[in-house]
C-alpha cells in the first residue's frame, strides 16, 4: 500500500516529491516500474518477435517462388503463415504501438512522472515474453495452421494441431496484458495530465492513444471470451463451435471479428498519432485541423465497434444485415479521409525538413491511402464476393498494417530515437532504409492485388502453374528479400548509433511537445517540477507554452551548444 502510495504523482500533488532511481540492475532494467524502461523493454521484445515472424514471412514467400515448391511441407507452410500473422498482429504491431510508444512517449507528453499504475504496467509487460514463448513454442507440438483467424472447425479439437491450444493461451495472455495496459493508460491520460493541459491542448499522439486505450480495454475482453470458448472446446470438448453438436462456426467469426475489427484500429490509430506529431515538427507549422483529426480518431474508434461483420459477407448472413454493415463500414471512409487531407494540408506552406522520420511519415500517407482505398472495394458486398479470401485481401491488409502501422512505427522510431537513447541515428543510412523499404514494399504487395483479382486464394502453398501467376509471385518474393535487407540496414544503424551516434541534446528536431523540453534520455523522474501548460502544442510562432521548465536542462550531460534546441530558436526568432 505505502509503496503504491509513494509511486503516484498527481500533478496537483506533492511536486517536490521525487524518488531516487533504483540502483540494482534487476530493479532498474528487468523488473523496472519506470514507464520509459518498460517502453524500451517492449521495443526490444517486440523487435525480436518481429524478426522471427519476418523470417516466417520469408518462408512463405520462398515457398511461393514456384507453384509446386517443396521448400517446406504444406503443413509447415500452413504453420508458418498462421504464426506469422498471429505474431505480427498480437506480438509485434499492437504491443509496439501501445506498449512501446504509448509507454515511452505518452506520460512524457502529458507531463506526468509515470503512468497511473506502474506495478500493473510492469505486470502487463511481463505477460508478453511468456505469450511469445507459447506462440512460437507451439511449433514443437505442431503449430496452429488455420491462419491468424483460426476459424473453427478446422481449429477445433477434431482438426486443429495440438499447438492451437497453445495459440489460444498465448493470445489470451496478450489480451489480458493489453486490456490492463488500456485501463492503465486511460486512467493516466484522464487523471494525470499536467495542470493546464486541457483535452484540446493534448498532443495528437495522446488523443490517438486515448482512442486506442478505449478500444483495447473493451474489445480485447470480447476476444478473451471467444478464445476461452475455443480453449474449452479444444480441451474439455465443450460444444460452442462444433456444428455436429449444435454449435456454430459462424459464432466464432462474430466473436472474433467483434474484437479483431477494433483491433485493426488499435493497430493504426497510434500510427496516425505518430504522423500527426512528425508533420508539424518537420513542416514547422501547426497541424492542420487539430480538432478534426482528434475527433475523427474518436469517431473511427466508435464506428469500429459496429462494422465487424464486413469480414463475413460470404459466410451466409442475412442480406439486410450485410447491407447495414456495408453502409456503416463505408461511413468510416469519411473521418479517415478528413485525417489524410488534413495531413496533406499540414505540408502546405511549411518549411519542410526531410529527415528520415519525415520521409517515413510521407511514405505512410501514400501506402496507407492505397490500403484505405482498396478497403472500400472490400466494404461493398458485391465486390467483396469476388475478392473475399483472396490475395487481394492479403495485399490490402499488408498495405494497411505494413504500409500503415509499420511505416508509422519506423517514423516514430526515427523521431523519438534521440529522446530514448540520447544519440542520433545516421540520417543517410536512414534514408537508404526508407528508399529500399518503400520500393520493396510496393513491389512485394502491389502484385498481390492482381493475383487476388485474377483468382489466387490466400493461405495456399500451391498455386496454378501459369507463367502469369508465377511471374508476379516471383516478383513479390524477390522484393520481399529486399525488404528483409532494408531491416538489416536499420538494425546496423540503430546499433552503431547506440555505440557511437552523435549526442542528440534535448531537442534535436526543434519539436514543441513536452517530451522535447527535458534532457535526452529523460531523468528517472521525467520532470523536476511538473510543468504548467498554457496553450496548444504546435504554435511555432509563439513562445513555448510551458511553465516550470526553467531548470529542467541544467544537469543534463549535454554539450552547451546543444542545450537549446531549434524550438528555443524559433521562440527567440519570433520576437
Amino acid at each position: 500500500m505505502s509503496i503504491s502510495l509513494a509511486q503516484h504523482h498527481h500533478p496537483q500533488g506533492i511536486d517536490g516529491h521525487i524518488h531516487q532511481a533504483p540502483t540494482s540492475f534487476v530493479r532498474k532494467y528487468v523488473f523496472s516500474i519506470d514507464h520509459k524502461i518498460i517502453g524500451i523493454q517492449y521495443f526490444v521484445t517486440t523487435g525480436i518477435f518481429m524478426a522471427i515472424a519476418g523470417l516466417l514471412a520469408e518462408v512463405i514467400r520462398t515457398q511461393l517462388l514456384s507453384p509446386n515448391a517443396q521448400f517446406v511441407s504444406p503443413d509447415t507452410f500452413n504453420e508458418a503463415f498462421s504464426v506469422h500473422g498471429s505474431a505480427m498482429v498480437w506480438l509485434v504491431i499492437i504491443p509496439m504501438l501501445t506498449g512501446a510508444f504509448g509507454n515511452f512517449v505518452m506520460p512524457l507528453q502529458i507531463g506526468a512522472r509515470d503512468v497511473a499504475f506502474p506495478w500493473l504496467n510492469m505486470a502487463s509487460f511481463w505477460m508478453f515474453p511468456p505469450a511469445g514463448l507459447l506462440l512460437f513454442g507451439s511449433f514443437v507440438i505442431g503449430a496452429p495452421q488455420a491462419g491468424w483467424t483460426e476459424y473453427p472447425p478446422i481449429s477445433g479439437p477434431q482438426y486443429g494441431p495440438p499447438g492451437t491450444t497453445m495459440w489460444c493461451m498465448a493470445i489470451f495472455l496478450v489480451g489480458v496484458s493489453s486490456t490492463l495496459t488500456g485501463i492503465n493508460f486511460l486512467v493516466t491520460m484522464y487523471k494525470m495530465r499536467a495542470p493546464g493541459m486541457t483535452f484540446t491542448r493534448m498532443p495528437l499522439f495522446v488523443w490517438a492513444q486515448m482512442a486506442t486505450a478505449i478500444l483495447s480495454m473493451i474489445a480485447t475482453t470480447a476476444l478473451a471470451g471467444a478464445l476461452l470458448a475455443l480453449f474449452l472446446e479444444r480441451v474439455f470438448g465443450i460444444p460452442f463451435y462444433d456444428p455436429a453438436r449444435g454449435g456454430s462456426p459462424i459464432l466464432w467469426q462474430h466473436m472474433f471479428w467483434f474484437y479483431s475489427h477494433p483491433a485493426v484500429y488499435i493497430m493504426i490509430l497510434p500510427a496516425f498519432g505518430i504522423i500527426s506529431e512528425i508533420f508539424p515538427t518537420f513542416a514547422r507549422k501547426p497541424i492542420f485541423g487539430y480538432k478534426a483529426i482528434a475527433f475523427s480518431s474518436m469517431a473511427i474508434a466508435l464506428l469500429s465497434f459496429m462494422v465487424w461483420a464486413h469480414h463475413m459477407f460470404t459466410s451466409g448472413l442475412s442480406p439486410s444485415i450485410e447491407v447495414a454493415f456495408m453502409l456503416l463500414t463505408m461511413v468510416i471512409a469519411v473521418p479517415t479521409g478528413i485525417k489524410i487531407f488534413s495531413w496533406v494540408m499540414t505540408l502546405f506552406g511549411g518549411k519542410i525538413h526531410f529527415t528520415t522520420a519525415m520521409l517515413f511519415a510521407i511514405g505512410f500517407i501514400i501506402t496507407f491511402l492505397c490500403g484505405g482505398l482498396t478497403g472500400i472495394y472490400l466494404a461493398a458486398v458485391p465486390v467483396d464476393l469476388h475478392l473475399h479470401g483472396t490475395y487481394f485481401i492479403v495485399a490490402h491488409l499488408h498495405y494497411v498494417l505494413f504500409g500503415g502501422s509499420v511505416m508509422g512505427i519506423f517514423a516514430g522510431l526515427y523521431y523519438w530515437w534521440p529522446k530514448m537513447t540520447g544519440r542520433m541515428m545516421n540520417e543517410t543510412l536512414g534514408k537508404w532504409h526508407f528508399a529500399l523499404l518503400f520500393t520493396a514494399f510496393n513491389l512485394t504487395f502491389m502484385p498481390m492485388h492482381f493475383l487476388g483479382i485474377m483468382g489466387m486464394p490466400r493461405r495456399v502453398s500451391f498455386y496454378v502453374n501459369d507463367p502469369w501467376f508465377i511471374f508476379w509471385n516471383e516478383l513479390a518474393s524477390i522484393a520481399s528479400y529486399a525488404m528483409a535487407g532494408s531491416f538489416l540496414i536499420f538494425l546496423y544503424n540503430a546499433l552503431s548509433s547506440l555505440k557511437s551516434g552523435a549526442l542528440a541534446g534535448p531537442n534535436p528536431w526543434g519539436a514543441r511537445t513536452l517530451e522535447w523540453q527535458i534532457p535526452s534520455p529523460p531523468h528517472y523522474y521525467n520532470f523536476k517540477n511538473i510543468p504548467a501548460v498554457y496553450s496548444a502544442p504546435y504554435e511555432f510562432d509563439k513562445p513555448l507554452p510551458y511553465g516550470n521548465l526553467q531548470d529542467e536542462l541544467d544537469d543534463s550531460k549535454v554539450p552547451p551548444q546543444l542545450l537549446h534546441g531549434h524550438g528555443e530558436h524559433a521562440h527567440a526568432g519570433a520576437h
Binding site: 469519411v334 487531407f341 469476388h386 493461405r459 531549434h566
Partner: protein, 367 residues
C-alpha cells in the same frame, strides 16, 4: 482553433500547374481504366459478374482520381515547401490552423461519394439477391479437398466437375461435410462459403461457354491450395448429353472421399512390384515419410515397418495393419493427428502404383 488569426493564403502558379498536370494524368489513367475493364482480363462467365464489374469499375475510377490528386499534392507540397539552404535555421512555416471552407468541401464530397457508392452497392446487392433461380436446383458439398456436386434426378454424386447449361438460371445450395470451404468461380465473380451444419444458397446464370476454375477460397487444411475443380458451361445439348451419360453410365467415382470411396472396391494390395514401389516412394512419399522406425517422422510417421510393428499394430485409421488397409489409406487418404494423408487423387496415384507401394512397404523391415 478559431481563436487564431488566420494568415493570408494565396496559391502560386506552381500549384495551378501541378493541378493541370495531375488532371491530365488522371484523365489518362481513367481513360485506360475505362478501356480496360476487369472483363478484359477475367471473362464474365455468369450473370452477376457484369453488375459486380460495373461497381468495380466505378470504385477504380473514383479511387484512382482520389489517389492521384492526394499523392500528387502531397509530393508537390513536400517539394515546393521544402526548407531551402538559405533559410534561417529557425524559419517557420505558414501558421495556418484550419480553413473551414476547405474542410467542409473535403467532408461533403467524400460523403456524397460514399452515399452514391452505398446506394449503388445496395441496389446491386438487392438485384443479386433477387436473381431468378430454379431452371434447376443443384447442391455442392465441400470435402477435404474435393467438391461434390449433386444433380436432381442423378442417383450418384459428381466429383470436382460441375457441368451447367448456358443461359439457364441455376439455384445452388452449398454446404460442407467437414470444415469451412468456400465455393469460388473467379470468372463468375461467384463466391459463397461452405459451412458445415449450414446451407447457403447462391443463384446465378452461366453466360459463357467454356471451362473455368472452381477454387476453394476458405482455408481448409493440408491441400487447400489444390482444392480446385472445374466449372464447365455447355450448350443445352452438350449438357443433356453429359447428363444422360451420367444417368445411364456406370456409377463412376472420381476418387473423392466419402460416397465415392465407399462405392469403390478395395484397391488391389497384392501382386505389386516392390522395385517400382521404391522408386515411387522415393519421389512422392518421402516428402512426408521416412523408411525408418515409426517415431522417425517428417510429417507423417516413419513407415519402415508399418506392416511389421508390434508397437503399432493398428494404422491411423484404427484398422489393423494389413496390406489391404494400407492400400485403403493410400487410396482414400486419412486424417492423422498432426496432418493429413492425402488420397490417391491428391498424390496422383493409380491402383497399380498403390499395389507397388504396398509391395514395397511389405518388403521393408520384414527381416
Amino acid at each position: 482553433m478559431s481563436t487564431h488569426s488566420q494568415p493570408q493564403v494565396h496559391l502560386s502558379a506552381g500549384f495551378w500547374r501541378t493541378t493541370a498536370v495531375l488532371t491530365i494524368l488522371n484523365l489518362l489513367a481513367l481513360w485506360w481504366e475505362w478501356t480496360h475493364p476487369l472483363s478484359a482480363f477475367l471473362p464474365e462467365a455468369a450473370r452477376p459478374a457484369d453488375e459486380i464489374d460495373g461497381l468495380f469499375l466505378f470504385m477504380t475510377l473514383v479511387g484512382t482520381a482520389i489517389f492521384i490528386y492526394v499523392v500528387g499534392y502531397l509530393v508537390y507540397f513536400a517539394i515546393a515547401f521544402r526548407a531551402r539552404r538559405d533559410d534561417p535555421e529557425n524559419a517557420i512555416g505558414l501558421q495556418l490552423h484550419d480553413a473551414t471552407a476547405l474542410e467542409i468541401w473535403w467532408t461533403v464530397i467524400p460523403t456524397i461519394l460514399v452515399i452514391i457508392l452505398g446506394v449503388w452497392s445496395t441496389m446491386t446487392w438487392a438485384r443479386l439477391q433477387s436473381q431468378p433461380g430454379g431452371a434447376f436446383t443443384m447442391e455442392a458439398i465441400g470435402h477435404q479437398w474435393n467438391f461434390e456436386f449433386r444433380y436432381p434426378g442423378l442417383n450418384k454424386t459428381i466429383w470436382n466437375e460441375m457441368h451447367v447449361p448456358i443461359d439457364k438460371p441455376i439455384t445452388m445450395h452449398v454446404s460442407s461435410a467437414d470444415v469451412l470451404h468456400s465455393f469460388w468461380v473467379p470468372e463468375g465473380r461467384l463466391k459463397v462459403d461452405m459451412v458445415p451444419g449450414l446451407i447457403n444458397t447462391i443463384r446465378f446464370t452461366p453466360t459463357r461457354i467454356g471451362t473455368y476454375r472452381i477454387i476453394c477460397a476458405e482455408y481448409c487444411g493440408f491441400s487447400h491450395g489444390k482444392m480446385i475443380a472445374s466449372y464447365v458451361v455447355q450448350s443445352q445439348a452438350d449438357f443433356d448429353k453429359w447428363y444422360n451419360e451420367q444417368k445411364n453410365g456406370a456409377p463412376q467415382n472420381s476418387g473423392g472421399p466419402g460416397a465415392g470411396a465407399a462405392a469403390a472396391a478395395l484397391p488391389p494390395s497384392t501382386g505389386g512390384d516392390a522395385a517400382a514401389g521404391k522408386a515411387l516412394f522415393d519421389t512422392k512419399c518421402v516428402a512426408c515419410h521416412t523408411t525408418g522406425a515409426f517415431d522417425d517422422r517428417k510429417v507423417g510417421p516413419g513407415l519402415g515397418n508399418v506392416l511389421h510393428d508390434a508397437a503399432h499394430p493398428d494404422l491411423v485409421t484404427g484398422k489393423p495393419a494389413t496390406p489391404g488397409n494400407v492400400a485403403d489409406i493410400l487410396k482414400n487418404g486419412a486424417q492423422g493427428s498432426i496432418g493429413v494423408m492425402p488420397n490417391e487423387q491428391m498424390n496422383g496415384l493409380n491402383d497399380k502404383d498403390i499395389a507397388n507401394l504396398v509391395a514395397y512397404l511389405s518388403s521393408l523391415g520384414s527381416k
